[in-house]
Amino acid sequence: MENLLLQALNGLASASSLFLVASGLTVIFGVTRIVNFAHGSLYMLGAYLAFSIVTHLPRGHAGFWGGVLLAALAVGAIGALLELVLLRRIYRAPELFQLLATFGVVLVVQDLALLSWGAQDLLGPRAPGLRGSVELLGLRFPLYELVLIGIGPLVLGLLLLLFKCTRWGTLVRAATQDREMVGALGVNQRWLFTSVFFLGSLLAGLGGALQLPRESVNLHMDLAIITETFVVVVVGGLGSLPGAALAALLIGELHAFGILIFPKITLVLVFLVMAVVLVIRPRGLFGKAQVAQAAVASVAEPVLMRAPKQLKWLGLAALLGAAVAPAYLAGDYALIVLTDMAIAVLFAASLHFIMGPGGMASFGHAAYFGIGAYGAALLAKWFAAPMVPALLAAPLCAGLAGALFGFFCVRLSGVYSAMLTLAFAQIAWSIAFQWVELTGGDNGILGVWPDAWATKLHYYWLTLGLSAAGTLLLRRMAMSPFGYALRAQRDNALRAEAIGIGGFEFRWVAFVLAAAFAGVAGGLFAFAKGSVFPTALDIPRSVDALLMVLLGGVQTLAGPILGALAFTGLHEQLVRATDYWRLVLGGVILLLVLAFPQGLAGAVRQWWESKGRA
């Protein structure tokens, strides 16, 4: 009994920490609609800055708490700066594009932190006077955890007061509720966004700084916290502070008690919770329907054109060039890279199919890539299937999974839907990770090499052929009546419904198709690498796909192709060129984002059109 009570307190302490970070994210999202991947980086910076400041200030209460506050303020200022110099310039870009920019920030911060604070974990000082523990029901409980349990509700209270009782708070609440209103603010909008970023980042920094007496400060803090934070925000309902608080509480407590019953549950618990909540409540616990979100896409997407003749010839030439390239490039490595690129193109194109024409973002597209890869690899391993039938199984498995997961995901909209795809992807990942008997767990499945008849060159041609065929097929489908219906429900759900086009069916079918094509890419990947690991369907892979699509431009069919080539090409080059490739890659992404808010293909298209007009 005592143990259970203490476990509940443990849950509260975790919940409190989680809430601090999540509150910042939800405030930022509520007002700006930016999916801010960099929030975890701000949290990490909070911890590192607090470490540096506190260890330099004199010991004692003033030194510690002053240091924590200073760190939080500094992170707030960094956040405001990010908004001023980076995000402000790309508010008009297509939805989710800002995510690309924030991801660039994540990469840059990772290397900057490594350069500034070194690789070794840092152990911050404990809070003065709170080193010890108190006796509760005969058991010891750390004093600092008690303080933390108090800080969460205190911050929640202060924030609610701020939003209720100040003019600024009223503006924030109104903006969270009604997008149109933000537009009507004019000049004040800029000020509002910057200040919201300041506050949100400050909260992230505070969350990080307050971990100092609890946890080591290390370079993995950013990614360790970011997904969980998003889960809390989405489960609570985007933009809802009380929602975030409740969700943090729910997740904190479920964790604390979950490990008593099923210790390995920590791997997926948050995602299970999110999946259940979103299936039952499509807008999270406290989320409200957007007033102006209505059924109409905010920014009109450009018309999809039939490819001009020149583009068709160019595409054909590129394909032929890619096919004969190995003859002119030295060695097998060229084949490996070209194979990787071909796989990436198909993977990105499949995601684009639901993101572009379908209008649904997916944060978990790797699930289908990975399920394809595992499907092929398992067949090869357990049934000694030859390569071709194993490759055929890939889209089948992925398509089936897409049908199952998609059935739930496509009912939701916007970030909720994207996060549900993430939840399913993580559930699939955890199965691959944990079901050691079947999948080999994180040690993966080895020895999935192509049949003897397929040399590396043959395999490359096979990959190139399937990738090109898949990409062209996706393109053809986007141009088919089905594709038009798909875009119709994205453009204007009300109108679509009024001419016999139900959003659900079309989105669902599109989701299954996208999953199946991702599965093909995954199957090809398995045989190209010779092994499959849970990394085939983990979050970084989903993020990669997202980055490729956004980088290339979500509004053009050529976007994912260009994006995939640019991203894999850049990555491949930079990793070999410098140890600080994350810094450079992040920097390049930021430059590209600022220069081409429509994505690379969007920029080419604009240039082409302006040339046509001139």
């Binding site: 152990l123 750390p142 890279v337 220069a595």
Partner: protein
């Protein structure tokens, strides 16, 4: 404009770079080693590793290289992704024309590289990955591993654990292959050594995301007499802090894998736990001639003390240098044959790669943690020779596929 210029140039640059090796190959006199590791994912361990690697290569070359040819290393970062490691392996072999592959920190990266080595018939010297599979269930002709494996280190600790009076054990390990196998071996070996032990609780926090307070509480609730810990890195730090504040470690024996390594002990500073039975590396107290030489050279070169990663990096190069000297060829099959039973002088003493399972006999230090001058270190330690903690040849044969 700047952006697309960069993008295009980099793609073209990529193509050019793919073609480049043709030109560079002719003058290559050096013996090239391809080294792949998770540098950006695990910098805390791998920075010291890389430094010592560099030092060792410099020393080999200063001493005239291998039969007159200098060693050269091409490093690649796999960022913790096996598939990237495999891609780099392809590049290193095909473009860089390396003689052999080495490296690996994460088990799955090591296994992927091992499988690549088998498929492409290239030698792979795995330096760090601890998984037993790499030499046993997934072992193959082309893969050798330097470091004492999970099994070996567990066996070393079980020897100590069996001496303790404790019967009720609780276990905590990160939830992935390494943690799971460590727990499995520990239970199996301890049960064999001491049939009356009981395991009263197991916790498997997600790697890098331990909910330390709840985990500690859950362990305490089972009132164990002793604890076996496998967490490391940030998880360990958080576990120790919460455990200490809550008195989890009081009047309880703790047996802990790897915790004596400076990589994991040093970040704990003056909060390092005392009296834990650990495997590790008391770098400041080992005064064998080989180690002293290594330590001094390392300090001179980097103005820092060596970590265990440094030893692993340094000894991997020593092993490779010894191999290349012995074989005096760059032909893989001959290298593999020479690798079987290869003897070389590691900083821990003489070590050989066993012919039967390709595992080196490099050992580890077993001792107790203690606080000295505000930092953790080891006392009562001894060097546990790896050779003594490996199963018999008959057992190994059943564990390993033929070949």
């Amino acid at each position: 404009m700047v952006g697309i210029g960069f993008g295009r140039r980099s793609v073209l640059g990529g193509v050019a770079a793919l073609a480049a090796p043709k030109v560079g190959r002719a003058q290559a006199e050096a013996l090239k080693i391809g080294e792949i590791n998770s540098y950006t994912a695990q910098p805390a361990f791998l920075q010291p590793y890389r430094q010592a690697w560099t030092l060792a290569v410099e020393q080999v070359n200063a001493a005239g290289g291998i039969h007159g040819r200098p060693l050269q290393t091409v490093h690649r970062d796999d960022a913790g992704k096996p598939e990237d490691a495999v891609r780099h392996a392809g590049e290193l072999i095909n473009s860089e024309k390396v003689v052999l592959l080495a490296g690996g920190f994460l088990s799955n990266v090591g296994l992927a590289l091992g499988d690549f080595a088998l498929q492409n018939k290239r030698l792979f010297v795995a330096s760090e990955p601890l998984t037993d599979a790499i030499v046993w269930s997934k072992g193959n002709r082309y893969t050798f591993r330097l470091r004492a494996s999970t099994y070996m280190q567990c066996a070393m600790l079980v020897e100590e654990a069996a001496k303790l009076p404790a019967k009720k054990w609780a276990l905590v390990a990160p939830n992935y292959e390494y943690g799971q196998s460590a727990v499995r071996w520990f239970k199996e070996l301890l049960k064999a050594a001491k049939p009356d032990v009981e395991f009263v609780a197991e916790q498997f926090p997600a790697l890098g995301r331990i909910d330390a307070g709840a985990t500690v509480q859950a362990l305490a609730a089972s009132s164990p007499e002793a604890i076996f810990n496998v967490t490391f890195g940030a998880d360990l730090t958080n576990f120790v802090r919460q455990g200490a504040t809550r008195g989890l470690f009081e009047r309880r024996a703790v047996v802990s894998l790897l915790t004596g390594e400076p990589e994991y002990l040093d970040p704990l500073g003056d909060e390092a736990p005392e009296g834990w039975i650990v495997t590790g590396y008391p770098w400041d107290q080992i005064n064998t001639p080989a180690h002293t030489l290594f330590r001094d050279a390392y300090r001179r070169r980097f103005n820092d003390y060596p970590r265990l990663g440094s030893v692993v990096g340094y000894d991997t190069v020593q092993a490779i240098a010894a191999l290349l000297r012995k074989a005096n060829t760059t032909e893989t099959e001959k290298l593999v044959d020479a690798m079987k039973g290869l003897n070389f002088g590691s900083v821990f003493g003489d070590v050989s790669f066993r012919a039967q399972d390709h595992q080196s006999t490099m050992g580890a230090f077993v001792g107790k943690t203690v606080l000295r001058n505000g930092r953790g270190t080891m006392v009562d330690w001894r060097y546990a020779d790896g050779a003594k903690y490996l199963p018999s040849d008959a057992v190994v044969q059943t564990l390993r596929p033929a070949g």
